[in-house]
């Protein structure tokens, strides 16, 4: 069992490795693009939320715009649900996507709107597989040590979108995925249990 897993992962690694070599040049161009994308998005967020005169409804709208501009929200929501996505009925999927978006906005909007002088700098990029780039940044706060944040950026439809955020080595996607799986499992594998918990959280 273990050997088979090992063999499979080695085979997968080899397959990726051999295909990655010819595209190394393309990759470095794409890494630069991904870094530029993060840079632009970050500056836009700072410019938006450094203005403290923006009324809250407008600030929320701006946050939502930036969220969709920067993040592949449908991808993230499906990835986070993992294997349960396919087990959900179309109606459950629709409900889940709506609740997930509300949760994201509720979780992160205030952190951006209450912006208090943080700045960031890009510290490096690293290809992740064929499609993705990790853009490493350091968030410098007015007080306290800087925070290392890596953005997993995927090239998509000629542009870029963030599909995961890793804060000091902790993946937000992985954390949420394990959290959601735990809720579903404790409800005997029923997705309605998660939908109910999400509804309670966002209301």
């Amino acid at each position: 069992m273990l050997n088979r897993r090992l063999f499979l992962s080695c085979a997968a690694l080899l397959a990726v490795g051999s295909r990655a070599v010819p595209s190394a040049l393309a990759q470095s161009i794409s890494d630069k693009g991904a870094a530029d994308f993060i840079n632009t998005l970050g500056n836009e967020a700072i410019n938006t939320f450094a203005r403290k005169d923006l009324p809250r409804p407008q600030a929320l709208t701006r946050f939502r715009d930036l969220l969709y501009q920067g993040f592949d929200v449908p991808y993230i929501s499906r990835w986070v649900l993992g294997k349960y996505w396919n087990q959900a009925s179309p109606e459950q999927q629709k409900q889940y996507e709506r609740l997930f978006e509300q949760l994201i906005v509720q979780t992160y909007a205030n952190r951006f709107i209450e912006y208090s002088g943080e700045t960031f700098r890009i510290t490096g990029t690293k290809p992740l597989g064929e499609t993705d780039t990790a853009v490493s940044t350091q968030i410098v706060r007015p007080s306290g040590p800087p925070i290392n944040v890596d953005w997993r950026v995927r090239k998509k439809d000629g542009g870029f979108k963030i599909i995961d955020v890793v804060v000091e080595g902790v993946s937000m996607g992985v954390t949420q995925r394990q959290e959601f799986a735990s809720v579903i499992e404790s409800n005997g594998g029923n997705i309605n249990g998660l939908l109910k918990a999400l509804r309670e959280r966002v209301s």
Partner: protein
């Protein structure tokens, strides 16, 4: 209980722990929560949450609001410096010569130039800090994390890390010195200060989890494990542990 039977039962416990840990090591991690004691862990977690909400968090709030930033920094520096002998020992046990040399450099610099560890001169001098403990050393030696454990008052852990914590606690030179000089009260003061200092670093994070998580217990479990992995790898990413992000997330490989 005679001494012989006590040592026998201790030995048995140790052997059981080792067997459990080895078995856990052979278990593929994957997406499984590896939390066979979940009901017990959840109960202890609930108790810890209660203690935190009623006692630790309010005390930390008072500390953060009443004590100015620079003083809290001095407290933090001093507490970290007290742990450095253990960090040095664990770096050596992990065979990390550079890490051991950095840790020694930090300890000497801050103890001598930083007035007994009150000032963090070493960071100014760009000597890097890595947090190390015996749980990490066991991981470097190849021991798997084992089942997840929530320790009363101490919070998230695992079989390996709890064993490591036990070893660190017994081996801690500061503790040995305090016992030798009969200054056990100093250990309690240190424990209290460490609790409030550590808690103050996570005020926002834990509030966020409580506010936004649909299963705070599972979130904390995931956060703890991911953080530990980063600490074990000394902050370096390990590609083998990267999660899989397929083109179509709705068609998982597993």
């Amino acid at each position: 209980m005679t001494l012989a039977s006590l040592s026998r039962s201790l030995l048995r416990t140790a052997a059981t722990a080792l067997v459990l840990a080895t078995a856990a090591c052979a278990t593929p991690s994957g997406d499984s929560a590896n939390d066979p004691l979940e009901p017990v862990n959840r109960a202890i977690w609930g108790f810890n949450e209660g203690t935190d909400i009623l006692l630790v968090r309010p005390a930390t709030e008072v500390y953060v609001n009443a004590v100015p930033d620079p003083v809290r920094e001095v407290v933090h520096n001093f507490l970290i410096n007290l742990t450095m002998p253990l960090v040095i020992a664990n770096q050596l046990l992990q065979g990390d010569a550079q890490g051991a040399s950095d840790a020694t450099g930090r300890f000497l610099t801050n103890t001598i130039l930083g007035m007994g560890g009150l000032a963090d001169v070493a960071t100014e001098a760009r000597i890097p800090y890595e947090s190390e403990d015996f749980g990490q050393t066991l991981a470097v030696w190849g021991l798997g994390e084992g089942p997840y454990l929530v320790l009363p008052l101490l919070g998230p852990s695992g079989l390996r890390d709890a064993a490591g914590l036990g070893v660190d606690t017994v081996a801690d030179p500061a503790r040995v010195a305090a016992y030798a000089s009969g200054a056990k009260g100093a250990l309690w003061a240190r424990a209290g200060a460490t609790t409030v200092d550590t808690r103050s670093q996570y005020l926002g994070t834990i509030d966020d989890i409580r506010r936004n998580s649909v299963d705070p217990y599972a979130s904390l479990r995931s956060l703890y494990r991911q953080r530990r992995q980063v600490e074990i790898n000394d902050g370096k990413a390990t590609p083998a542990e990267q999660p899989d992000f397929p083109v179509d997330p709705a068609a998982p490989k597993r």
